[in-house]
Homo-oligomer: 205 residues x 2
Amino acid sequence: MAQTAEDTRFATQRDRLLKAAARCFNEKGYSGTSLKDVANHLGLTDAAIYYYVRNKEQLVYQCYLRAAELGREALDRALADGTTGFEQAYLYIRYHVEIMASVRGPVAIMSEIPSLQPEHRNEVLAISRRHSRDFEAILSRGIDDGSIAPCDVRMTGNAIMGAINWIPKWFHGDADMAEQISRGFPDILTRGLRPVPQPLGPDHS
Amino acid sequence: MAQTAEDTRFATQRDRLLKAAARCFNEKGYSGTSLKDVANHLGLTDAAIYYYVRNKEQLVYQCYLRAAELGREALDRALADGTTGFEQAYLYIRYHVEIMASVRGPVAIMSEIPSLQPEHRNEVLAISRRHSRDFEAILSRGIDDGSIAPCDVRMTGNAIMGAINWIPKWFHGDADMAEQISRGFPDILTRGLRPVPQPLGPDHS
DNA sequence: CATAAATTTTAATCCTGATTAAAATAATGC
DNA sequence: GCATTATTTTAATCAGGATTAAAATTTATG
């Protein structure tokens, strides 16, 4: 109970901190960003950061947890909202892209994993792997239910995730552009999944 | 003339150096890798590196130039070998993936751009942009000649390049696996480009 | 072999940036 | 307004890592 109270009390600043850190890490990489960099974004001094986190590593770590949380949410929503495997894959991509392209989204520094200390790294890797497997499961389901063409789910999953994870590298636009991307991207990444030579005519499913 | 002689004389060690540096940068990022790291891979001392390059920044810079060179080659080969836009896109992806997945390939640290000093950064960005545009041109050509379905070439290009550029993040396997990827990936990334309901079967061109 | 050039190492230097402790300031409950 | 807690700053420490200069070693070449 004190937990919740504390969390809400910290929430705003800590949130800003994580978001600022995430942006910096995305732009300059872990070792490339100094705590002073991050602090400047908040109008603070580097030392102030230590009030919120134990050290720099905790900063990325927390970013990852936050990102994982959002990724998980996207996945769950997709599973809930879609019926066929294809739909679920589509929705997952859409939700995920929305997060990645969103200017206010917290993070997507799926690089930087080597910067984590062993325990955290393993944890994050585990989460990430589970996440990948879940997505691959969606693909498999789609293959089974006929909504997705047979393919190497592992490799296909990597391709799609790569395209998504790369977004922050080239997208620095505004909300409008983000909107555009989250509408266009899922179609692009998904068009190749369709079960092949389907006559275009009336689709009796 | 002395130029050529010198180049060949330096070639081997310098090559090893760049390759080692590239691998490190890929794994740990620019600021994350120390010159000692790189030197260790060569059985050298950190100071020895300065015999080959002026400073650390030159190291990434050279890696980029090398990568750009290879990318350009892939593009040129694809343009030469393919006839339709689709074929050219397919081949480009294939050649590029081969480079990325190749254990001996020098590099793909398309991240790390912020680490470059302004002039070099602009140069590399210019090259990169030109490269993107060339690839998009291939897509456009494919749309024109009917071998590729109409699409937002900019966004599609980004998606494909992202998937490719992300490869080093998840692939750490051996040559066999690399072979497998460079065979499988182009199909995956390319399937979505086909002008709609096209039988997939053996492509008799 | 002897000399010059090429290559690498040793041993500083020097700076950046993380981290810490103590002090200062702001906010809050009473 | 006072005491306590939350938040931030100042100032200092400290280590790692880039860079350099000089020395040592290896290699080529006459």
